[in-house]
């Protein structure tokens, strides 16, 4: 019997992308998610509301005869009527136009800052959770420090440098906003990496970044999407809070938070001024939440292929 020696073997390397490939001729991940999302009626309604609001925010102010800052002494505190569909505010400005001008600001702030926060938070949290050790220890202390700095100071400083406006506000919300997601993703990754399927992948010698992309991320994506849908209202509220203490966007621009804040003063005597912004805030949140739930189910790998 011939002896085995090294020359008889050829190192063929490993194709890391294919070694786990599944022979099922299947839909891509996102195609599958989209298919399941469409089947979820509630989620679809939510999606429609968001799209509708977004369209109205873009077009409604263009087709109104009132400017968003036109004041009118004759229409102060006017209730909803044919002339002013949603009534007027304390200085006689048309609420319909202001609501949609406000929607531009609020939706932009909510979507952008929540999305940026999610991405940054997920990456940093994922790295900390996966690698642990010194990196984790240091990052978590940085996070603690950042979290401990009063966010107002950060907001004021950002606005000092960049001025008042939507973009500085988004940046200010992002400086510390990612920390929540980061902590949460870190915890999840920490838990997942001890699980058998990750262990198995590791034993097979799959590189870390592929484990993260193929195994860890799909498993936390559901929670992450839920988190994102919570973060959008969070960001919109944060803006409203900053407006509440006078640090929001520059007048005469408005946001839903500004409108709600202006309206809350008249709760007892002109309730429409608070009910209307509150209604739009609530329905947006409702839609986002329904959508979020649908998305959660749609991207959950464990529910894949099921109805």
């Amino acid at each position: 019997m011939a002896e085995l020696n090294k020359d008889m073997f050829v190192i063929k390397g490993k194709n890391t992308m294919k070694m786990e490939s599944i022979s099922r001729p299947s839909l891509s991940f996102w195609q599958d998610a989209w298919r399941r999302l469409r089947k979820n009626r509630a989620a679809f309604v939510g999606l429609c509301i968001i799209v509708l609001y977004a369209l109205l925010a873009v077009f409604a102010p263009m087709f109104s005869k009132y400017g968003f800052s036109d004041m009118d002494t004759a229409a102060m505190h006017a209730g909803p009527s044919a002339a002013h569909w949603l009534g007027c505010d304390a200085t006689g400005r048309d609420q319909w136009v202001r609501i949609w001008m406000g929607a531009r600001t609020s939706l932009a702030i909510g979507l952008f800052s929540a999305f940026i926060n999610m991405c940054v938070g997920a990456v940093i949290g994922g790295l900390c959770g996966y690698y642990g050790g010194k990196l984790d220890m240091i990052m978590m202390r940085v996070v603690d420090i950042l979290y401990g700095i009063p966010s107002l100071i950060i907001t004021i400083l950002v606005m000092l440098v960049l001025g008042k406006g939507v973009a500085p506000l988004i940046i200010a919300l992002c400086v510390v906003g990612w920390i929540g997601t980061c902590r949460f993703v870190r915890g999840e990754v920490y838990r997942l990496k001890e699980q058998d399927f990750v262990m198995a992948a590791k034993v097979l010698g799959i590189p870390d970044f592929i484990i993260i992309i193929r195994h860890i991320i799909p498993n936390i994506l559901g929670m992450l999407v839920t988190n994102l849908c919570m973060a959008i209202p969070g960001a919109i509220f944060q803006e409203a809070f900053l407006s509440y203490i006078g640090l929001g966007i520059a007048p005469p621009n408005c946001s839903w938070g500004v409108l709600a804040k202006e309206g809350i003063q008249y709760l007892r005597i002109h309730p429409h001024e608070i009910i209307i912004p509150a209604f739009f805030i609530c329905t947006t949140m409702l839609a986002l939440n329904l959508l979020g739930d649908g998305m959660r189910d749609a991207v959950d790998p464990k529910l894949r292929g099921t109805e």
Binding site: S69, D70, M71, T73, M76, A90, T91, G92, I156, K164, I245, G246, L247, A250, P251, P252, K261, E262, Q265, Y266, L267, R268, I269
Partner: protein
Amino acid sequence: MKKRILAALLTLAMTAAMVTGCSTPSTGGDSGEGGGDSGAASGEKVFRYATNTEPTTLDPTKGQSIGDNEIQHAITEGLTRNTAGEVKPGIAEKWEISEDGLTYTFHLRDAKWSDGEPIKAADYEFSWKRLVDPETASPYAFIGDYLKNGYAIETGEKDPSELGVKAIDDKTLEVTLENPTSYFLSLIGSSGQYAPLRQDIVEEYGTDFAATADKNVYSGPFKMTKSENNEYIFEKNENYWDVDSIKLDRCELSYVEKPDTQLSMYEAGDLDYVMVPSAYVPDYKDKSEKFMNGNVDFCYINSQSENKVLQNKDFRLALNYAISRKEYNDLANTGIYEPFNGLVFPGLQAKGKTYGEAYEMKSYPIEGDQEQAKSHLDAAMKELNIASPGDIEIELTTTDAESSKKIAEVIQELWQKSLGIKVKIRQVTYAEIYGNVFPEHDFEVGYGGWGADYDDPYSYVELFKGDSSYNYSQFVNKDLDELLVATQKETDTDKRMDMLKEAEQLILDEGAFVPLQARNIFYMLDEDTTGINFYYCSLNIDWVYADVAQ
């Protein structure tokens, strides 16, 4: 399934127990008082009200807000007592004023501190020297500038012992002033900074002096028994020299930040007096009364701004004529303030009547004058070679408070509509506007206001005196400065008043600022309560002589 519901119910019950079970933190020193609002039942006369600015200190010397001073007005007694402008003897029984109006000699009556010690002339001397001493760092030290050498001591040029106040003996106090100040007696009757202080108490507690109610003794009609957790309780001071005039047994002041909450508390019967939040005034007009608190609001115009148009008198006048102050007031303040086109609060005393009655106002029309505005704007554009009003942009700086924001938005809209210029709003924090923006003249047009500490027009016109610390608008006019210096030396009060009116007119004619409004405060008072006074200098509500019907 049933079990799960049971579990849920159990959790609910547990939560309820947790929520209601733990006791609230102790509210401190009000034990033994038998609870706040049951005063009437025990036959006590109690007055309850709220403030929306938290008192910053209980040390009379360091008071810096109207809220601080309102408290001091009740717990300290000056040489005189100023009740809504009427000056009566306080601890000083009588006094003599020298011919030149510079030297006052006060003769003190037999009066006691709340701990039974006699009030001596030396207590005033100590207090006033402490006020101007740089070591004390009182935020209101400048109010001691009326006393001889007051300003020099403040700046460290002279020693506090050189201040123009001297206790001749226990009952006689000699005061020397820097200038003849006709309103000096009125000033010391309403400014807590001129209250007496006990040297032994101040030195005993050091920096903790008056930190809480028990770390001080009181000379006024009331003594403070509690100052914690946003509650301030005053009780009648039995050692007060004029205790028979005091009807109330107790007063309870709550710090409640939100005016809406105050209104709710009043309507729930928790307060006897409330200021109606401006948003609600139109609907409460029938139920409420009003007083003017002496505050006038206006826009400063930085007349040495880098924005050339603001250096132009015609443009400044155009800004003034363009605004219909009536429309402005309706939009910005739901019409509750008085549209105002002057500088000096018209309710001040002058020539035995009010300033507003004594002099006729010659100024921009309340309704605005669009034609005048246009012609002044045209003149300004011609002079500055500007082709179209759209090329002019000015920046309006305001604080981030909701009311200021609304006011700024309205002014912005009115100027843009009327003149066709561009107006940008810049919002800064309160700390910034009075910390940097105004003192460093880092603004173009800025929304601000003024309320006087003493009953004299000088306080208002001084805002435009060339070398004044408050001259935020960098307005310099030689005639005005000379006029103002002369008023300080003039001893004939009527003549002096005419000079001050002349100064106000000069400032208006130059378009140095944009007057907007004089404030009205609407309030509701429980019908059983009487004897509340309102004032427009350094304090608003004065409840010392209040009475509650049983």
